[in-house]
């Protein structure tokens, strides 16, 4: 059942497989709910808090001392743009969480500026997510989440929290900023999970 739009022809972009409802961009759009926080690396700190309240902390020097990875991934924003083959450098969450003792299933990512987003822990492990601090070979711009952001490219990009300052592990799933504002709790681009109930 489809309603044809009179006079609309549309364009094909051959050879590119995008998730449903997405279009390709070569720009790098910025979407943020408020002013961009400007966090100096000497003040930056990243904390993992487990479900029992135990904390693990890294400052910038500690993050830089960890083995970094070069990452090339497609990214998909819920506002419908996709950007292909983006290149990043960062530390795998497998590395950061290697010595963290937890039986939790859920994570709330917290950002400088107050932003939050929820992700299942299993979506952050096994080479699926990073704390990224370079984009395209340059330090990450503040407007794109610098000095460091979460990078979870297999989910809609609002899950890749900018200005990340910590993860809180939990046995129960709470909803983050956009998830309580009508967006999907999980956000799989290939299943087009944009809004609550999709």
């Amino acid at each position: 059942m489809s309603t044809v739009s009179p006079g609309f022809t549309g364009r094909r972009r051959d050879g590119t497989e995008l998730p449903p409802g997405q279009y390709l961009t070569h720009e790098f759009p910025v979407l943020s709910a408020g002013p961009t926080p400007h966090i100096r690396t000497e003040h930056w700190e990243f904390t993992v808090t487990t479900e029992t309240g135990e904390q693990y902390k890294w400052d910038w020097a500690a993050l830089m001392a960890l083995p970094a990875e070069e990452i090339t991934k497609d990214i998909h924003c819920v506002t419908r743009w996709s950007k292909l083959q983006t290149t990043w450098k960062g530390v795998s969450l497998d590395t950061l969480l290697a010595d963290v003792e937890t039986g939790a299933d859920f994570v709330m990512a917290h950002s400088y500026g107050g932003y939050t987003t929820n992700v299942p822990l299993e979506d952050l492990l096994d080479g699926q997510s990073w704390i990224a601090y370079e984009f395209d070979g340059e330090p990450l711009d503040p407007e794109h989440g610098g000095p460091a952001r979460l990078l979870v490219p297999h989910l809609y990009f609002w899950k890749s929290a900018k200005w990340v300052r910590g993860l809180v592990l939990s046995d129960t799933e709470d909803l983050g900023f956009w998830e309580t504002a009508g967006y999907h709790e999980y956000g799989d681009p290939w299943k087009e999970q944009r809004y609550a109930g999709d």
Binding site: S2, T3, G7, G10, P29, V30, A33, G34, W178, G182
Partner: protein, 232 residues
């Protein structure tokens, strides 16, 4: 769920922007500032969707969208130049729960728009009309002919309800000496003070929003009371 609206009217606002008036059966209502998804389908089944800010306050039977044509765009040129009264248009919404103004929300409201960033702000102006909420609008445009909602804004400016101030970045009308971007001095002059307890909504192109939000924070405004929406 997607539903089919009917285009009641397409009204030209500027050389590159049109307001689309939609009749939507069973519209659940919306908050000022929310979006709508629009989906186009070609005769061979090819589809393209985009999200647009709603330009009007909720009313029982129509919704207005104002669309600025993106050069080389896939959807906006169709909406601005091809779509006409009587056409069907598939929509989904409303969407978004952050860049919104709710009646009864505490404090005055400062609106700051750049270019077509004025669209969701116009929805807020309409929603607040007749309420006791004080609103101010600071609107940055390139030149006089780029002003969207020029008639609405003249009426608002003439009333006591809203303070409207236009900033021209390239070319100003006769009698308006200042040409240039919004700066700290202008913000000091035309926006609520940090102590006034206003919620500030900033909408426009990314560079505009970044610059204005940074200036507001530098002037002592609480980042938590500044809501932003960036177009690309």
């Amino acid at each position: 769920m997607w539903q089919v609206a009917t285009v009641a009217d397409v009204r030209r606002e500027t050389a590159t922007a049109s307001t689309i008036v939609l009749e939507v059966p069973d519209w659940p209502g919306h908050l000022a500032g929310q979006h709508l998804d629009v989906r186009l389908t070609a005769p061979d089944g090819y589809r393209a969707s985009r999200s647009y800010s709603i330009a009007s306050a909720w009313s029982a039977d129509t919704i207005e969208l104002t669309v600025e044509k993106v050069p080389d765009g896939e959807v906006s040129p169709y909406l601005v130049d091809v779509l006409k009264a009587g056409d069907p248009l598939e929509i989904r919404g409303p969407v978004g729960g952050w860049f919104v103004w709710k009646p009864g929300q505490e404090g005055p409201v400062q609106l700051i728009g750049g270019g077509s960033g004025v669209v969701p702000l116009r929805s807020m102006l309409q929603a607040a009309s007749g309420t006791s909420t004080p609103m101010r609008l600071l609107y940055s445009v390139r030149r006089p002919e780029s002003v969207i909602y020029v008639h609405d804004l003249k009426e608002l400016a003439a009333s006591d309800d809203v303070d409207v101030h236009l900033v021209y970045t390239r070319e100003a009308p006769a009698g308006e000496p200042r040409v240039g971007r919004i700066d700290a001095e202008l913000l000091e002059q035309y926006v609520y003070k940090p102590t006034d307890g206003a919620t500030t909504y900033v909408c426009g192109p990314t560079a505009f929003v970044e610059a204005v939000a940074d200036l507001l924070v530098a002037a002592g405004h609480d980042p938590a009371r500044i809501r932003t929406e960036r177009f690309g």
